[in-house]
Symmetry: C2
Subunit: 153 residues, 2 copies
């Protein structure tokens, strides 16, 4: 055995460390979202749609870390609120394509400065190199395949 059968300290446990780090960042972001009446989930959906354009719902669910049943209800509300539109796909009529509206783009644009300011504060205290290193490592981690067991001793 190369590893002890002991639990790691919570600050060295990835899921908890990721959550705590995220909570630090989310405090000012929640303030912003509260002012504009969006939930975290709706914000992630808008960011996703703004970035990748018109896509089907399964793709949004994957990118925004949401389950399809949650997404269905959230998108219905967002459509009512005018942030997104939906249209069926002609070639595969099971699919629905979702697109951000100008109103959706506008609310993102109107709050860019908050994101930029936050990013600047983090960069100021962490340093640009460390920040980029962290983003690189998070991309690596996200790509890790946990479906196969690790090699056994």
């Amino acid at each position: 055995m190369t590893h002890d059968e002991r639990l790691l300290s919570t600050s060295r446990t990835l899921p908890i460390a990721l959550l705590r780090a995220r909570e630090t960042l989310m405090v000012p972001i929640r303030d912003m979202l509260h002012e504009i009446g969006l939930t975290e989930q709706k914000w992630r959906i808008l960011r996703t749609l703004d970035e990748i354009g018109e896509v089907e719902q399964s793709t949004i669910a994957q990118h925004a870390c949401l389950l399809l049943p949650s997404l269905t209800r959230t998108l219905r509300r967002m459509e009512e609120e005018g942030y997104i539109t939906r249209r069926g796909d002609a070639s595969d009529r099971r699919k629905t394509f979702v697109r951000i509206t100008p109103k959706g783009e506008a609310i993102l644009a109107g709050n860019v400065s908050t994101s930029v300011r936050l990013y600047a504060r983090v960069e100021e205290q962490l340093g640009r190199d460390k920040l980029n290193q962290l983003l690189d490592l998070l991309e690596d981690l996200q790509a890790v395949d946990l479906s196969k067991p690790a090699s056994q001793d």
Copy 2:
């Protein structure tokens, strides 16, 4: 201005990158928790109590990233289930101290191997150096103070 007033790509946005990376890890952990009938929150509470011993509820809330009202209800259920005990503080009778029970410790111990296996898979694919680097950076990020504005240009 040193920063463009544009939104970063979602994979280079810390809150989203942190969430996606965490989701990757949580898939196998949720399977484990489901089997033993614990929610993610209860699991974090047990991990916290196991690590720092008998503490007041505000401290648990902070460490496990939960709000006090959520914690109150969850701890009541966990007390009924025999995972924790609570006792009032004699010197400051507003406080309640919470402690993990042997049953709580047992359920952690019984699932160490899942955590260890997961950690091993990540280490195998990411490398030990990168993994430690990531954990260091997450600790740094968690300690960032976002209450003061960044220096203005």
